[in-house]
Each structure stands twice: as structure tokens, then as C-alpha cells.
């Protein structure tokens, strides 16, 4: 998959998340980093057909629940998901992670993200 196509597909996934997902908006930057990392990593694993249960904890179970719900939605919205290879998912999901980290954390204008306590 060329870079332009991967970016177009990433933009579609980002659009879906921006309209539907609340997990990206936790109120602190460090918390958002963790949410993005855990949920998007598991989403990628599930898209690649891997077992995304990494630990026997309720926290892991939570991240997995968000990820599997997201995968279901991606499949409903974007028919190309079913035809995409593992290699291409890896590229698209890395682009998505980088973009979300920028929009929601590094480039965010939300001044509350840098407060330490809740």
C-alpha cells in the first residue's frame, strides 16, 4: 500500500473515532497517551487476527473491550477493512496512532492536559 492510500484510510478511521469515541478525551495528557497506546495497539492486534488479551487484569479487559468495539465499528463502516493485509494494518494503525497523539496531546491547545492531578 502506498503512503497516500494509507493516509487516506487512516483519515477515515480517525474520522470515525472523532465522531464516536470518548476514550480519547481523558482530561490529562499522560492519561490520553496511555489510552491511545493501549486501545490502538489492541485494535491493531485484533485487526491482524492476534489475541489482544495481554494481562489478566480489569484494566486490560477494559482496553480490550474498547478495542473490539472499535474493530466491529470499523468493519461496519469501511468495507476495505476485510481486504486489508496485516502489513498494511500495521502501517495504517501506526499513522493513526501518530496522528491521534499529535491532535489529542502534543499539538492540543487544551491547557488542562499538563495539570498533574485530576
Amino acid at each position: 500500500m502506498d503512503k497516500k492510500t494509507a493516509e487516506e484510510k487512516m483519515a477515515q478511521l480517525e474520522w470515525y473515532i472523532s465522531k464516536h469515541c470518548l476514550w480519547q478525551y481523558n482530561s490529562r495528557g499522560w492519561d490520553r497517551e496511555k489510552q491511545n497506546e493501549r486501545i490502538l495497539t489492541k485494535t491493531k492486534m485484533l485487526l491482524c487476527g492476534e489475541n489482544a488479551h495481554e494481562e489478566e487484569t480489569t484494566a486490560d479487559r477494559y482496553y480490550w473491550s474498547e478495542a473490539i468495539t472499535l474493530v466491529g465499528a470499523f468493519k461496519r463502516y469501511f468495507p476495505w477493512i476485510e481486504e486489508t493485509s496485516k502489513e498494511d494494518f500495521t502501517v495504517i494503525m501506526q499513522l493513526l496512532k501518530d496522528k491521534m497523539d499529535y491532535t489529542m496531546i502534543k499539538g492540543s491547545l487544551n491547557k488542562e492536559l499538563i495539570k498533574e492531578q485530576y
Binding site: S18, Y25, N26, R61, Y118
Partner: protein, 537 residues
């Protein structure tokens, strides 16, 4: 995105960065309104105070509690019965309000003795109520009354009562949001972990940030119970004081209004390791995704799927009747803090309305991130608007309806823009599949009511046609529809009952899997209404 300059606020330059136009192709990193800042002198804000946020939004929905304000009578009067957070056991929390009625003499000589007298008097007047929440106000905070010490004294003298103290005076933050924060943390620190609740299901949640407006909590509770999930507590709608003391025993915090209650979820995650799962109870798709997420967490997604399929089949044709008639209707989505993001995308996608503006009175920048993401390009996003800005926006955007609170709603009506109550609702509940249809019906009735035309005619002097019949909502709404839609046998108007809640309350019980064996057994409704707790010594 670029900042939006209101003409009426040119004389208040600080206001510029509080309003943003969402332009095509732009992103959140281009511009974001400022938020959760002190209201600028010279602007007339629509906000409430931190006392009001603590008491009126979060404290008072607790149902078996004497809610007493330690302050002048006006503080409690103005936070009494202004929101429809009903309960299933007689609405004590709505019927009665209590205040110590501080006067000048108390300010000069202190009011602690009077507070103690009031507390005891209130418990004696309502001997069946054994729980109390005391709310500090500006007056009692400024003179330094030690409310916690008085509460301890009373609890020593009356061992069967429990008293919670919320020190959140009106000035403790820029808006009611400061009070949400304070009461979240105060409850967690003073109360959570002081009882051990009985666990009767394998699946246990706290339902957080849900206030049972016109029965919202009871609609969602029914879904959770049908899935076999025990709701340990609801923070704080239709809940018992003691249920909220046992929040530490849940496996998952399901969070609805993150604006008012994310703090307690975040702290429960840090202190007790309970994950926080944010959900949307509004809108068919968002609600379905939310039920599925919770289902996946417990491994009971098939139960969630059953509810989704059943309720979607039952209510979707009715939603679609309204969606066909609401397409293109322009809305200003102007609630308090969370509904701008709960509703923005769902009403556009599922009802076809165009959100031309979002605003928040007390939201933070995070709420604006969500709201702006979820509305379409062209929308105007405003933080903490003043009345003149709201008027200017309505003249400019020409909305067909606005969703807002009672006070700005009346302002809109004066310029002949209909409004729906986004806080207390018109004919709620609005959560759930049935609730979403009720919301669509309320929007339809607001937009197409013939009264808007009739009100413009002064029959004492205006000419008016006498050879035509009355217009109806449907004669107005169906003008633009094709015959195919007008005559569709698949679409039908809302058949929801006047009040859908009594039917839910009349259920006899639900099946829950035993926490140890997983075997399903019926738990009667009486037990679900009042769970057992054991005091922790």
C-alpha cells in the same frame, strides 16, 4: 478554525478567544475556545456557582438524604426542585429542602450552634431519614464555621445517623464545575469504603454521572439488569446514600457525564484499580455501541445484542418518522456541559438536523474538543456566552430551535425561537431507544407547532384569513415530503406512553448470575431497590 468576534463583545476583548468558527478542513489543533476560566467582568454570564454545582447537580439527586444548606435561605431555595431528578421511592429529595437560614447575627457571632440545632431538628422532623448531606455556602465559609466538627458531634450523639459534609462555597471555582470537582473528591475521601455492600451478581458496576432526569437512570438500569449486571451505586441519580459508600467494590465504572463526575472515576481508578469506561446513553448507535462495550467487558455481549436488536426493531421506525421531517432543521445545541458532545453527532446522523452552534456554560476545553469534533464544519462554538452574544448568534444563525436551559430558553422565546429544555427535558426520559424517539418528538413539536405563526397575529387589529382551516404540525412538516415518505407504512409516530417509567418499576425482578457459581437466579425488585450494606468499623 478561527476566533469568532461578536460585535456586542468588541468592548470586552478577552471574550474573543472564547468563541471559534469550525471551518472545513481545519482541526482541533488550529483553534480551541478557552474554557473553565473566571467570568470576565462586564459580561453577564449564565453560569451557576460552585455551591450550586455541588448541591444542585450532584448532591441532591441522592434520595434518602436530608440535604441541608448551611447559609442564607436563598441559596437553598434557588437550588430546590429546579431539576427533575426523580426517584422511585416517593421523591423525598424533590419535596423537601432544608436550610439553616443564616442571618446577620449569625455572621457576626458564628452559626455553629445554630447548625447543630438545625441538624437535630431536621432528623427529628423526619425520623425515617437517617442520612444527611450538609452544603457549605459563601456565608458559612467566610465566617469559618467548622461544619465537619459539628457533623462529628452530631454523629457521636446520634449513632444511627451519618452526615456527609460538602465544603464547596459559591466562590470555590469559576462556575458550577468547581463544585462538581469538590463534591466528587469529598465523597470519595469521606465516604467511599465505609461500608461493605452485598454482591449478588458476577458482574458489578457503578453507573457514574447519571442523575435520573425524568427517569433516564431507570431506563438504563433496566438494560443493565436485563444483562444480569448489578448496579452497586449510581452517582448520584435515584440512589441511596449508603450505596455510594460501597463504590469501591465495583468491577467497572460506567461513566455517562464525564464533565460532572470524571474526577471520582479517575480517583477510583487510581486508588482501587477500577477501570473507567465512558459511554453515551443517547442515540441508537451510540447507545448500542455502549451496551456492546459493557457486554464485551463482562463477556456477555450476546445479552447486549439481544437488547439492541429488540429495542431497535421496536423503536427505529418511529425515530425514522421524525427523522424524515426533521432533516435540515437548524439547531443551536446550547446545554450546560456534556450534552453538546453527547448529542451533536447523534442528532445530526439519526435525525438529520444541522447543528449550527454548540456552546457550554461551564464546560472545560476537553468538552469543547469533544463537541467541536462531533459537530459539522460551519458550526460556531462558544464558551460561557453572555446573553447578548447568544442573541447575536441567534440573529445571525437563525436556528429553528435551540436546546438549552430554562433561563436562556426564555430569552430565545422572546425573539421567537422555540427551545427545548436540555437539562430537565420537556417530555423525557431521553435516554434509551424509546427516550431518543421521545426527544425526536419533542424537537418535532417545538419546530412545527402552529403556535409560532398564530402568536404573530393580533386578532384585535390584524387581518387574518377566515376561509381556511387551522394548520397542524403535520400539515406544516409534510409540505416538503414526497408521497412515498408521507404514505410509508414503515414509518409511524411515537407510540411511547405518557410516562414509560411506571412499567419498569412494576417489574417483579431480574435474573443475575451468582457471583460464585454463575448460576442464574431471580433477584426480586425490592432487593434491587435497597441493597444490604455492612458498616466498616
Amino acid at each position: 478554525m478561527s476566533y469568532h468576534q461578536f460585535k456586542c463583545s468588541e468592548c470586552i476583548p478577552e471574550r474573543l478567544e472564547h468563541a471559534v468558527d469550525k471551518l472545513p478542513g481545519e482541526e482541533l489543533t488550529d483553534a480551541l475556545p478557552l474554557g473553565y476560566l473566571n467570568t470576565i467582568p462586564g459580561t453577564i454570564s449564565e453560569r451557576g456557582c460552585a455551591y450550586c454545582g455541588a448541591k444542585h447537580v450532584i448532591g441532591t439527586p441522592m434520595k434518602d438524604v436530608i440535604h441541608i444548606s448551611h447559609g442564607p435561605i436563598g441559596c437553598t431555595y434557588d437550588t430546590w426542585q429546579t431539576k427533575r431528578y426523580i426517584s422511585d421511592d416517593g421523591n423525598f429529595q424533590l419535596k423537601y429542602t432544608f436550610a439553616t437560614d443564616m442571618k446577620e447575627a449569625n455572621i457576626v457571632f458564628g452559626a455553629e450552634k445554630m447548625l447543630k440545632k438545625n441538624i437535630i431538628e431536621a432528623f427529628k422532623a423526619f425520623p425515617e431519614i437517617k442520612r444527611m448531606s450538609i452544603y457549605q455556602t459563601c456565608a458559612s465559609a467566610l465566617i469559618g464555621d467548622d461544619i465537619n466538627a459539628i457533623a462529628e458531634e452530631v454523629m457521636e450523639e446520634m449513632p444511627d445517623v451519618k452526615v456527609f459534609v460538602c465544603n464547596s462555597p459559591g466562590f470555590a471555582g469559576p462556575s458550577q464545575s468547581g463544585g462538581h470537582h469538590k463534591i466528587n473528591i469529598a465523597w470519595l475521601t469521606q465516604m467511599v469504603g465505609t461500608v461493605e455492600p452485598e454482591i449478588y451478581s458476577k458482574y458489578v458496576i457503578n453507573y457514574v454521572g447519571e442523575y435520573n432526569i425524568q427517569g433516564d437512570q431507570e431506563i438504563m438500569k433496566d438494560y443493565f439488569h436485563r444483562m444480569g449486571i448489578q448496579i452497586l451505586s449510581t452517582f448520584t441519580g435515584n440512589t441511596h446514600f449508603d450505596d455510594l459508600r460501597g463504590m469501591h467494590r465495583a468491577q467497572l465504572n460506567v461513566l455517562e457525564c464525564a464533565r460532572s463526575s470524571e474526577y471520582i472515576c479517575d480517583e477510583l481508578r487510581v486508588r482501587y484499580g477500577i477501570p473507567r469506561m465512558d459511554i453515551d446513553g443517547f442515540g441508537f448507535e451510540a447507545l448500542s455501541d455502549s451496551l456492546m462495550k459493557i457486554g464485551y467487558f463482562f463477556g456477555i455481549e450476546d445479552k447486549a445484542r439481544e437488547i439492541i436488536e429488540e429495542d431497535t426493531a421496536r423503536w427505529k421506525p418511529e425515530l425514522d418518522w421524525y427523522a424524515a421531517r426533521l432533516k435540515g432543521v437548524k439547531v443551536c445545541l446550547w446545554p450546560g456541559g456534556s450534552k453538546l458532545w453527547h448529542w451533536a453527532h447523534s442528532i445530526h446522523k439519526e435525525m438529520g438536523v444541522e447543528v449550527v452552534s454548540v456552546y457550554t456554560k461551564f464546560g472545560h476545553q476537553g468538552d469543547m474538543e469533544k463537541g467541536i469534533s462531533r459537530c459539522e464544519p460551519g458550526a460556531l462554538a462558544i464558551d460561557d456566552p453572555n446573553e447578548l452574544e447568544s442573541l447575536e448568534a441567534m440573529y445571525e444563525l437563525k436556528p429553528d430551535v435551540i436546546f438549552t436551559g430554562k433561563r436562556p430558553g426564555e430569552v430565545a422565546k422572546k425573539i421567537r425561537v422555540p427551545y427545548l429544555n436540555a437539562h430537565g427535558y420537556h417530555n423525557g426520559p431521553y435516554k434509551g431507544y424509546e427516550g431518543w424517539v421521545r426527544f425526536a418528538r419533542d424537537i418535532y413539536n417545538a419546530v412545527y407547532s402552529p403556535i409560532h405563526k398564530l402568536a404573530l397575529i393580533d386578532i384585535s387589529k390584524d387581518e387574518f384569513p377566515t376561509d381556511k382551516g387551522f394548520e397542524t404540525s403535520q400539515s406544516l412538516s409534510d409540505v416538503k415530503l414526497t408521497d412515498e415518505i408521507k404514505n410509508s407504512p414503515d414509518l409511524k409516530q411515537c407510540t411511547s406512553k405518557y410516562d414509560p417509567i411506571p412499567e419498569i418499576r412494576a417489574k417483579s425482578g431480574y435474573l443475575f448470575p451468582d457471583p460464585e457459581t454463575g448460576v442464574l437466579r431471580e433477584v426480586p425488585i425490592e432487593k434491587l431497590r435497597k441493597n444490604k450494606v455492612v458498616e466498616v468499623e
